[in-house]
């Protein structure tokens, strides 16, 4: 008896369908599996046999052959347990005719017949819809992940016995394994923003907050420099909170990466919060970029559509940071390994924080006791190409406790001096984003930060007077070509924040103010 069950596997963040072919025939009793299998897939037969036995099914002493096709792609993961079990059930005639037609199965089996969570459900279900599959049966703990995909019946299963009952029942199938339906709009509305801190909690540091606002509005990379304990991390952590909420499309992208990485929480259907990733500086290259024999997404992909925060930038190994150059430019990362080449999305906003010198107080020469040599040496730790890709740089100053308290008092008496809340800032960001959306229309761009040098003329054009002014700035501030474009892009964002169609002198000036100062970084 031969049959084919549909299942799926991952390749990067995309998926492909796998046909699980099961044949049971007379011969010496044996269970053999083929199809370029990873060791966890090969172990599958033990789990399947015992789980079926414990579900009350006797496997007859016959020759069982399983092939996973396409047989030339390496198969990994435990999601094939369930389709193999279903194939055996079917070959043994335990499945009603037509019950598995156009149905995709995914799931890992426990020896007691329990069906466990697997990773990558979202992209596989999406691929199934594309291929005209009508129904999918997935582990109950993954069910919400699959249920957000429209156009397919999704059923969650907890135990192999449930499934056997389901296969035998003719009328009331929905009673045994109910269809799960999730409205994505509901998820978006219901999920309340998890409070991770608000900008209004930050006293002072208006300059840095302003830079953060501009960076968020144009999705620019941001560098925060300053002595320890001035609130660099505080500001960085609050940036996702002022970025616009994820759109459905973005959310699907983010959820897909999380699903592939197996990081979705049980019952979580869609990730609706902007990612915030803050890896420790000892992170390895594979963990940052993505890697393994069959590459898994790295931190930069988990930060897709969100913020990647690198605290203590000079402490990161230079060669590891340098790997981020290409992803920063291309917004995706290609990883070629023995197991295949995969591409993961990596469109993140890079926020980095660092002390300007070993003691942290440079250029406050009253406090900084570092010699020029020391400052340069410290700066030299930072990867130049990464610094080069920072659009906005801002320095924070120490606020002593006395001033913090005094400021608090002042603010209560002067309402207008109250620091802006994240909600207010987000409104401004959304406003600027809308203008960018309209501007870029059909082009590939989404944000000002992405504008390439070639398209600078088109999107950041200056009036005659402004052009002359910019030329003057160029010479006076001794800018390079990169810095020149950077200033234009940031000025574009500042103008957008004000709802101003043309870039004016003051926008250029403010953008120039946040440029990476050449003298400061001359040690590199």
């Amino acid at each position: 008896m031969f049959c084919t069950i549909t299942s799926g596997a991952l390749l990067g963040i995309s998926a492909y369908l796998v046909g699980v072919e099961v044949d049971i025939d007379r011969g010496l009793p044996a269970f053999s599996m083929v199809g370029l299998l990873g060791s966890e897939v090969r172990e599958s037969k033990e789990r399947v046999c015992v789980a079926l036995k414990n579900a009350g099914l006797d496997i007859p002493p016959m020759r069982i052959t399983v092939n996973l096709s396409p047989a030339d792609r390496k198969k990994e993961g435990t999601a094939f347990d369930l389709p193999i079990a279903v194939g055996i059930l079917n070959a043994l005639g335990k499945v009603r005719e037509g019950a598995i037609k156009d149905t995709l199965f995914l799931g890992e089996l426990g020896l007691n017949g329990e069906i466990k969570k697997v990773r990558g459900v979202l992209p596989i279900v999406r691929e199934a819809v594309k291929n005209g599959i009508k129904q999918c049966v997935i582990p109950k703990s993954n069910v919400s992940e699959g249920a957000v995909i429209p156009g397919i019946t999704v059923r969650g299963v907890e135990n192999i016995r449930e499934l056997i009952a389901f296969f035998q029942e003719e009328k009331d199938q929905d009673n045994i394994l109910p269809r799960i339906l999730l409205e994505t709009d509901d998820i978006f509305q219901k999920t309340e923003e998890e409070k991770t801190g608000d900008f209004e909690e930050i006293r002072g540091q208006e300059n840095a907050k302003r830079a953060a606002l501009i960076a968020a509005a144009g999705f620019h990379n941001l560098l925060l420099a300053g002595p320890p304990g001035v609130g660099k991390s505080m500001i960085a952590k609050r940036i996702p909170g002022i970025l616009p909420r994820l759109t459905l499309e973005e959310s699907l992208e983010v959820t897909t990466v999380a699903s592939v990485a197996g990081l979705l929480k049980e019952g979580e259907a869609l990730i609706t919060k902007r990612p915030f990733q803050a890896p420790h500086h000892t992170i390895s290259q594979a963990a940052l970029i993505g890697g393994n024999a069959i590459p898994k997404p790295g931190v930069i992909s988990l930060a897709h559509r969100g913020v990647l925060f690198l605290d203590e930038l000079p402490e990161f190994q230079r060669n590891i940071l340098d790997c981020m150059r290409q992803p920063i430019e291309e917004h995706q990362v290609h990883i070629a390994r023995n197991g295949g080449t995969v591409t993961y999305p990596a469109h993140f906003m890079l926020v980095a924080a660092m002390n300007p010198c070993p003691c942290g107080y440079y250029p406050d020469k009253n406090k900084c006791r570092c010699t020029e040599v020391q400052v340069r040496k410290y700066m030299a730790h930072v990867s130049g190409p990464i610094l080069d890709r920072m659009d906005l740089c801002v320095e924070l100053q120490n606020v002593d406790i006395g001033r913090l308290q005094e400021q608090g008092k002042k603010e209560s008496s002067r309402a207008k001096m109250l620091p802006a809340s994240s909600e207010q800032l987000r409104k401004q960001v959304v406003f600027a984003r809308k203008i960018q959306e309209e501007r870029f229309g059909e082009t590939d761009y989404h944000f000002n930060a992405e504008i390439s040098a070639a398209d600078m003329e088109r999107f950041c054009c200056l009036g005659k007077a402004e052009k002359a002014f910019m030329e003057m700035l160029y010479h006076k501030l001794e800018l390079g070509a990169r810095a020149y474009h950077r200033i234009l892009k940031v000025a574009r964002t500042i103008a957008d924040l004000e709802g101003c169609m043309e870039i004016r002198e003051e926008h250029l000036l403010e953008a120039a103010c946040y440029r990476p100062a050449q003298d400061y970084w001359k040690g590199i």
Binding site: N207, P356, N366, E395, A512, C513
Partner: protein
């Protein structure tokens, strides 16, 4: 006995001008020491008064003066006969000076050699040659014992058997920079280490411009070997001119940024040093003809921590909205946050940033780094 003068010169926060004021009012340092707080308050700011009171409490003049002697440091005030004549003549001459070794003689020609710390090979070669030449001929070489030109010329002068004076921006008991440790000890054997700061003072950035005025003050002529535009060396040159000293400059190639300052000075009419022999001959002539240096006709630019009439005119030229911000700036860079807090007139932070950048473009302010602005030296 100068123990009360020593006390007066050692109070943190009391600069040369405050000392001047106090002595003008009370007559002598001892009278200042015994003066009532109320009387002092008329002349001093609150913070300074606190420092005076504090130091009066913790300072035992006899003991401290004894310590000074133990360390082999000599303390002189302007009232002492040994106080260098040349220094006496400069504006804002330091009231008290500390030194180790032997003071430069009033009757021997002395030349200051100054220049960049990160000098080029060319610069170090010229500095070495000139130092050796002057040292061989018994001319006293004055410099700041810094890295680069300063140290190289002084080292060469000593090697050639000459004497040299190193003027420090810290206490004379501290060797700064550390890598000149060997030079520091050699100078002590056959020259002088001098400072207007009491022993133990650390080399702070703000100490150096006042130090520079002593370097030029102790010399009859100043030779600039390599200097960038807007460098500290040029500040020294400005002070030298203010003091009426001869300024000689070693020309450089126009493509060398390290010679921009030098060539700029040449353009303004400074003397050219093409060969040490020629230079020495010219200076000797001036020296023998008239003991007082001859002033060069030149621009009246000056920079220092001292009263600067130029600043006033800059201020008046600025648009009104920028004036107040300019006033809040200082030569020591301040953070935008700090300027903003002081301004407190409802100006937004981005508006302030824009105005600060405008000041930078007008060449009256500098952006030290992202978020720090300072006044530009004029």
């Amino acid at each position: 006995m100068r123990r009360y003068d020593y006390w007066l010169c050692s109070i943190p926060g009391i600069g040369n001008r405050s000392i001047e004021k106090l002595l003008g009012r009370f007559g002598s340092a001892k009278d200042v020491y015994t003066a009532k707080d109320g009387e002092l308050a008329e002349l001093l700011k609150e913070g300074q008064l606190a420092e005076v009171r504090n130091s009066r409490r913790n300072w035992i003049p006899d003991k401290e003066y004894g310590k000074l002697k133990e360390k082999g440091i000599v303390f002189l005030t302007r009232e002492d006969a040994d106080y260098p004549d040349r220094l006496m003549m400069i504006p804002d001459a330091p009231y008290g000076i500390f030194y180790k070794g032997a003071l430069p003689s009033n009757d021997i020609l002395s030349v200051a050699i100054i220049g960049a710390r990160d000098c080029s090979e060319y610069g170090s070669y010229v500095a070495g040659e000139l130092g050796r030449f002057l040292g061989e001929r018994g001319v006293q070489v004055i410099s700041g014992m810094a890295r680069g030109i300063d140290g190289i010329s002084q080292e060469a002068a000593l090697l050639a058997g000459g004497s040299t004076t190193g003027v420090l921006g810290c206490g004379v008991d501290i060797c700064y920079p550390k890598q000149n440790q060997a030079l520091y000890h050699k100078i002590l054997e056959r020259g002088c280490i001098l400072s207007s700061y009491p022993p133990g003072t650390l080399p702070k950035a703000q100490n150096f411009p006042p130090r520079n005025r002593i370097v030029s003050g102790l010399a009859d002529a100043v030779v600039v070997i390599e200097a960038r535009n807007k460098s500290g060396t040029l500040i020294t040159v400005d002070m030298a001119l203010e003091q009426g000293k001869e300024v000689y400059v070693v020309p450089g190639r126009i493509t060398d940024r390290l010679s921009d300052g030098c060539n700029g000075l040449l353009k303004q009419g400074a003397g050219i040093l093409l060969s040490p022999e020629e230079f020495l001959a010219e200076i000797r002539e001036l020296w023998e003809g008239n003991r007082l240096p001859v002033k060069i006709e030149r621009r009246n630019q000056s920079v220092s921590g001292m009263e600067n009439p130029k600043e006033k005119s800059v201020l008046l030229k600025l648009p009104e909205e920028l004036q107040r911000i300019y006033e809040l700036l200082d030569y020591m860079p301040k953070s935008v946050e700090e300027i903003w807090a002081k301004l407190a007139d409802g100006t937004g932070i981005s508006e302030l940033n824009i105005k600060l950048m405008k000041l930078c473009l007008m060449d009256v302010a500098v952006q030290e780094s992202n978020g720090y602005f300072g006044r530009k030296a004029i």
